[in-house]
């Protein structure tokens, strides 16, 4: 199939997933009552709409960031968490909850973005001129450190309620977000995504290795800055608003490559669409699971993602055997 018609299909699927996310839940809300002046209309405007918009944006930036990271590191196992930005943003959020700053307007978001920003600066300092290896090692150091500090904050939580609130937030969810959350996170995600869409040509050139890319006039140093800042802003903002949602950035580029081929620039936009479809669908499904409350999106994604990844692994082994 031609890439253009594939992209049209993805676009349609994304619209369908977005509609599903607007409608699905303990209460189904059909488009006829979206504008109604009753409980249904209220649920739609105050709860469903922000949730669906966030799902769309978060999924898109996670899919896109995953495709960029895999292209840059030329490693299909890389994902946005490799940089340690997610872990650092999560640490910021956890500290905010611990200090009670999440009760202030935008307190949690600001702290998580501070965490993400600090990790961006540290990464740029650590990996200066080091190429992808310095980059991965820097990201690992950051992830480990932020993870340890997060565990430390949980361990010193004043009471079980605070600890459970922190853990719950960490697991990632899109429940009870407001339009205000959307407007706060959106500019960061949009800016980050915009930067990342410009990396396509350089990522293609890296197919030839670092020397090959540089001999084609690609400035790898600048590419590294664009990726750190782009992924940092986009993924940082997504963690700040929804906690850590894993697997999207890892899985989606794989699926897209199977349909579009492996050229890095060709899978950027489709990966963004695919990420949005996956996240919106998963976030609709978690609302439909019967029982009290909801399955956390982060957990659902891992439950869906792990078997899928195993399948992928088996297919690779079969292909290489």
């Amino acid at each position: 199939m031609k890439p253009r018609s594939l992209t049209s299909i993805l676009l349609l699927l994304a619209v369908a997933a977005f509609m599903l996310s607007l409608m699905a839940g303990k209460v189904w809300i059909w488009p006829t009552s979206w504008m109604a002046d009753n409980a249904d209309g209220w649920i739609f405007i105050e709860l469903r709409l922000p949730r669906a918009v966030l799902g769309l944006c978060i999924g898109a930036v996670l899919g896109l960031s995953g495709a960029v990271m895999q292209g840059y590191l030329r490693n299909p196992l890389a994902d946005p968490t490799v940089l340690g930005v997610s872990a650092s943003a999560a640490l910021g959020g956890v500290v905010a909850i611990y200090l009670g700053l999440n009760l202030l307007p935008f307190g949690l978001f600001a702290c998580a973005m501070l965490g993400a920003g600090a990790s961006i600066l540290l990464l740029l300092a650590i990996s200066r001129g080091g190429g992808p290896i310095g980059f991965i090692l820097g990201g690992m150091v950051l992830s480990t450190l932020a993870g340890a500090l997060t565990a430390f904050v949980i361990s010193i939580a004043p009471n079980p309620f605070a600890a459970s609130e922190i853990i719950n937030w960490l697991m990632g969810a899109l429940t009870d977000r407001l339009m205000a959350d959307v407007w706060t996170a959106l500019p960061f995600m949009a800016l980050g995504a915009l930067l990342l869409f410009f990396t396509g040509r350089a990522l293609d050139a890296l197919t030839l290795g670092e020397n090959g890319a540089r001999s084609l006039g690609i400035n790898l140093f600048r590419l590294q800055w664009i990726i750190v800042i782009g992924v940092g802003l986009a993924v940082g903002a997504s963690v700040a608003v929804s906690g850590v949602v894993g697997f999207v950035g890892l899985i989606v580029p794989h699926l897209i490559r199977a349909a579009y081929g492996e050229q890095p620039s060709r899978i950027l936009l489709p990966s963004a669409l695919g990420g949005a479809i996956l996240t919106l669908t998963a976030d609709s499904l978690v609302r439909l699971v019967p029982g009290p409350g909801e399955v956390r999106l982060g957990i659902a994604m891992a439950v869906l993602g792990a078997p899928f990844f195993l399948l992928l692994l088996l297919r690779y082994r079969k292909a290489s055997a």
Binding site: R74, R201, D204, A205, L206, T207, L208, G209, N211, G212, R214, S215, L216, G217, I218, N219, G261, E262, Q263, P264
Partner: protein
């Protein structure tokens, strides 16, 4: 058109050093850089390609200092075939060759010039037959030709090739050498790092012999590849003779026991 290296020094912990190299490469010639492992051949080529900046001394393309050229302008004029034949994703041969157009691309998509250059590079290397096959499925010899087509697609004035024959069987080695030779005859400057002295003797117009980071000799094949130079640089005992059609041939008898 010339590539000129003047009093070039380069010292780095992770790279063989260069010490006061002065050399000159001319367009229309196939120049070969020879020397034992660690002599600094690849370092010299990387300085010529503008990937490494010399500590002191300069590498000039005509009268422009290569290390101060804008990367894109440099990439349009100097093409590099890096060592190791890296290809990281299973993209088609044609898509790989198209990467050579990156220095010329402005907006999105390929122009008519781009498409013409890609198809002429693929026909020059006889790679059209597998244009739609993923490069990861090609044999080593086919992939080497596709990678060379990638360099040709950029239509550079200079083609720098770092060990382009590594891991190829003798037939494919001759194919690649023949392609490089034809590029030189068409007026391009070609500089290749080679290990096989027989190939250098047969194909080179100009030889630069390095030893331990220093220039040992440069000039024509007859001037540089001599029994005494080979004994001194490689520690081998070699004979040079003229064969029945009048071409110079090399025969390596063995290692000189010290």
């Amino acid at each position: 058109m010339t590539l000129t290296v003047r009093n070039l020094n380069f010292a780095h912990a992770r790279q063989p050093t260069l010490d006061g190299i002065a050399a000159k490469f001319e367009a229309g010639k196939l120049s070969v850089i020879l020397g034992p492992n660690g002599a600094g051949k690849s370092t010299l080529l990387a300085c010529l390609a503008g990937l490494l900046k010399p500590d002191t001394g300069t590498a000039h393309l005509d009268d422009e200092d290569i290390s101060s050229m804008a990367p894109t302008a440099r990439a349009q004029r100097i093409g590099l075939l890096p060592q190791g034949a890296e290809t990281h994703w299973a993209i088609t041969s044609e898509a790989l060759v198209a990467l050579g157009r990156i220095p010329h691309m402005r907006g999105a998509g390929a122009s008519t010039d781009d498409r013409r250059a890609i198809s002429s590079a693929m026909s020059a290397t006889a790679t059209e037959g597998f244009a739609n096959r993923p490069v990861t499925q090609l044999s080593g010899g086919e992939r080497a030709r596709v990678l060379l087509a990638r360099v040709l697609a950029g239509e550079p004035q200079w083609i720098l090739a770092d060990e382009p024959l590594a891991n190829l069987d003798p037939g494919f080695q001759l194919d690649i050498l023949d392609l490089l030779r034809r590029q030189a005859e068409a007026g391009k400057g070609v500089v290749a790092v080679l290990h096989d002295l027989h190939h250098a003797v047969r194909f080179a117009d100009h030889v630069v012999l390095l030893n331990a980071g220093k220039l040992f000799a440069q000039g024509s094949v007859d001037e540089v590849i001599t029994t005494s130079n080979l004994a001194h640089v490689y520690g081998i005992d070699a004979n040079l003779f003229t064969d029945e059609v009048g071409a110079t041939q090399l025969f390596i008898k063995g290692k000189i026991s010290s």
